[in-house]
């Protein structure tokens, strides 16, 4: 035990100090990367992200059906959205689905990830199976669950004790439940993977020390594993939030925003306005609002969590 610990410490020890020097010297030799290095990426980013974003912003002040030439209407689209109950409902639904996603997926994927980081038998095989949903496209997943949850020929028809009449897509509460469930089913493997990687990176000595101090498995989990997973948790949650705010395919295929407007989340409402009702002005306004909201929320999460400082989890510094 002791020899192992020392050797680990020895191996880890010298890493800190002299590591800087070679990288600094190589920098002076090669020269700092000039602007030319960033140019291709910058050009692509400008062309495919910045320019469209500006165009969408301009379009949000216009009325355009895709046929006639766009007409400048000032803030009409925006003021109409402000009075639109469906818009407010869509924001509320988007937030609800995002929160549901974070609340359900985080504990699940932490447990699965920590478990998958261990050395149990069959772990690798089971991990691969857990991973399968992520390999399917969201479209395929949605089509699959739409069929599986058919009230007359799917699972609800067999398990009436659980599903009642099986009208899952016909009522708001159950439709939202299905949407939350399907994204959980699809994206938990991804977050599990993040937590698995992070859990593997936790220095083993911490557990060994805890064991010597007589800490059991649960104490080890709550006092070592969870705190050490902090940064992974923030990364995963930001991805969940951004992903939640931009959810689209699942709604498009599973519910089409229905029944009525009961599951019309903001991204779907944007699509509905722009590409189904040919009201590109209003669609652009929603899109812009969504971009602003997602940016603000991400910034808040980054600030509140201290992700921008990214405290090190390296041995001894946590």
């Amino acid at each position: 035990m002791t020899t192992k610990t020392t050797s680990a410490r020895l191996a880890a020890g010298p890493r800190k100090g002299p590591r800087r020097r070679p990288s600094a010297s190589s920098a002076t030799q090669v020269g700092r990367p000039g602007f030319a290095w960033a140019l291709p990426a910058a050009v692509f980013f400008a062309l495919f992200a910045i320019v469209p974003l500006i165009m969408v912003a301009v379009l949000s002040f216009m009325s355009w059906d895709g046929l006639s030439s766009p007409e400048f209407v000032g803030t009409d689209n925006w003021s109409r959205l402000m009075d639109d109950p469906v818009m407010f409902q869509s924001i509320w639904l988007t937030l609800l689905l995002t929160v549901l996603g974070v609340v359900i997926q985080t504990p699940l994927s932490i447990l699965l990830g920590v478990w998958a980081a261990g050395h149990q038998r069959n772990r690798a095989v089971l991990s691969v199976i857990y991973f399968i949903p992520l390999l399917l496209s969201a479209t395929a997943v949605s089509v699959l669950w739409r069929a599986l949850l058919d009230p007359n020929f799917g699972i609800p028809a067999e398990a009436t004790w659980l599903f009642g009449d099986g009208n899952l897509f016909g009522e708001q509460a159950t439709a939202i439940g299905v949407l939350a469930f399907v994204s959980t089913w699809q994206f938990t493997p991804f977050h599990t993977l993040i937590y698995q990687g992070a859990a593997r990176a936790i220095p083993h000595v911490l557990y060994q020390a805890a064991e010597i101090d007589g800490a059991g498995r649960y104490r080890q989990f709550f006092h070592i594993t969870l705190p050490q997973l902090r940064n992974a948790m923030i990364t995963s949650m930001i991805l969940m939030i951004v992903g939640g705010l931009t959810t689209f395919e699942t709604v498009l295929i599973l519910t089409q925003g229905g029944p009525g407007t009961d599951t019309t989340i903001s991204a779907y409402y944007m699509y509905d306005k722009a590409f189904k009702s040919f009201d590109y002005g209003t669609g652009s306004a929603i899109a812009l609002a969504l971009v602003v909201a997602a940016t603000i929320i991400s910034l808040i999460v980054v600030r509140v969590s201290g992700y921008d400082k990214m405290r090190s989890t390296m041995e001894g510094s946590s």
């Binding site: 090669v30 290095w37 050009v43 009230p151 007359n152 009208n167 016909g170 009525g260 009702s277 040919f278």
Partner: protein, 434 residues
């Protein structure tokens, strides 16, 4: 060391330069159209019927100097893509549509060629088609489309076996329908299958009931911009009847979780779990594809029941009248287009459509029905459409495309009881009519 540093920079600059060249090359892409000077582009909804369209195009190209090029877009994307390209240089010369509201915005934008001149030179372009169908592509008194596929009236289909077991007959009147609904419920089956998840099947019930109760005039007024039509007593009566039917449990409880497009409601009828389904005439070939044995033995069909005291003629039908070819004003070869459109009433065209189960709406269709694949069914449809004083185009096609999403929401919410009659009326009044 210095040369090593310079190399990546050189590569990066080169890549950027290459990129810039590629991008500027993209901008000049419009020049390719000059090669198309002696061609007509025909844009069609991509599906199984394309094989007939290809055959017609081949026939035409054999004798014509100006060649037709057939472009197809998969069905689900057709409307969106069409709207995107129609006001650009990439627009086709001739394109597929549903008549009615689907071309109105294009007429308003002055993109379409009125076909008066064509018809003056060859009156057959009008006279060889059933008038009720031809008139559906007339906008502001001018014809803008030539019928080009088959008519799709909505019929009330049923499972003969289920009806026999419950001891009922297909209903001829509304009261009989309510009676049959009660009996089928007692027998433990869902009386009427409905793919409410798609919403447009739900809308079919509205179309027919409004037509039976108020006659075609009410909807004509409404779609023409007179929003007061929705507030009329007839409108409220039709809504009351729909409410009554839903509350009687005619559609069961979970219809909104069922879809037609994934075969759910189709299977409900074929498996004997439901008695009826209201659907377009394409239902027959759908059942034939999905459940062959059932379609050949137990699938029955009747017209929509009559409503006592209703103002609408009991022989009126609703559905998709037909599809149409419309011509763009900018086409360089109007003569060739006119020649091409004449093929839409040729014997060859009619035979080819009948062979794949479509029912063309030309006056010579009659001659060929008996030698078609499903003569009895074709005959029933043909007589129904030919004798119909009025053919109500599907509401979502009669209104401009941009209204369809909000219309579907209103229909679904009324059906589910989230909107009452007044709420539904308000929602319909808020729809754009042009």
């Amino acid at each position: 060391m210095k040369t090593r540093a310079r190399l990546p920079r050189l590569v990066a600059c080169g890549a950027t330069l290459a990129l810039a060249v590629t991008l500027s090359a993209c901008g000049g892409g419009g020049g390719g159209s000059s090669a198309d000077d002696d061609k007509i582009h025909v844009l069609v909804y991509g599906d199984a019927t394309n094989k007939v369209e290809k055959r017609i195009v081949d026939t035409f190209n054999k004798t014509s100097d100006v060649k037709v090029v057939l472009d197809t877009i998969p069905g689900a994307d057709y409307q969106k893509k069409l709207q995107t390209i129609i006001s650009t240089p990439q627009a086709p010369d001739v394109f597929f549509n549903w008549g009615g509201g689907s071309i109105k915005p294009f007429v308003k934008a002055d993109l379409l060629l009125p076909l008066d001149d064509f018809i003056e030179k060859d009156p057959g372009l009008e006279n060889n088609f059933l008038p009720s169908v031809f008139n559906n592509a007339v906008v502001d008194g001018k014809p803008y489309g030539i019928p080009m596929r088959g008519t799709q009236p909505v019929l009330l289909f049923h499972n003969k076996k289920v009806l026999d077991e419950a001891g009922v007959k297909p209903p001829k009147t509304w009261d009989e329908l309510l009676d049959v609904v009660g009996k089928l419920k007692d027998a433990g089956v869902t009386p009427i299958a409905l793919g409410g998840g798609d919403v447009w099947p739900t809308q079919m019930w509205f179309q027919y009931l409004y037509d039976r109760v108020a006659g075609p005039g009410l909807f004509e007024k409404a779609v023409g911009g007179d929003k007061s039509a929705w507030e009329s007593a007839d409108s409220k009566k039709a809504l009351g009847m729909i409410r009554e039917l839903v509350d009687a449990g005619a559609f069961g409880k979970n219809y909104d979780s069922v879809k037609y497009t994934n075969g759910g409601s189709v299977q409900l009828v074929s498996s004997g779990k439901a008695g009826f389904e209201l659907m377009g005439s394409w239902y027959y070939s759908q059942q034939l594809t999905d459940h062959k044995a059932f379609a050949e033995k137990d699938l029955g069909y009747t017209a929509f029941p009559t409503v006592e005291g209703g103002k609408g003629d009991a022989a009126n039908v609703a559905g998709n009248t037909n599809n149409y070819y419309s011509v763009m004003k900018k086409t360089k070869h109007p003569e060739a287009v006119a020649e091409f459109l004449k093929l839409m009433y040729s014997d060859d065209f009619v035979k080819a459509q009948l062979d794949i189960g479509n029912l063309p709406t030309t006056t010579n269709t009659d001659k060929f029905i008996d030698s078609s694949g499903t003569p009895e069914y074709s005959r029933f449809q043909y007589d129904l459409v030919a004798d119909a004083p009025s053919f109500q185009l599907s509401w979502d096609q009669a209104y401009p495309q941009k209204a369809s999403s909000d219309m579907h929401k209103a229909v679904q919410q009324f059906f589910n009881g989230q909107l009452d009659a007044d709420g539904f009326i308000k929602a319909m009044q808020a729809l754009p009519t042009e």
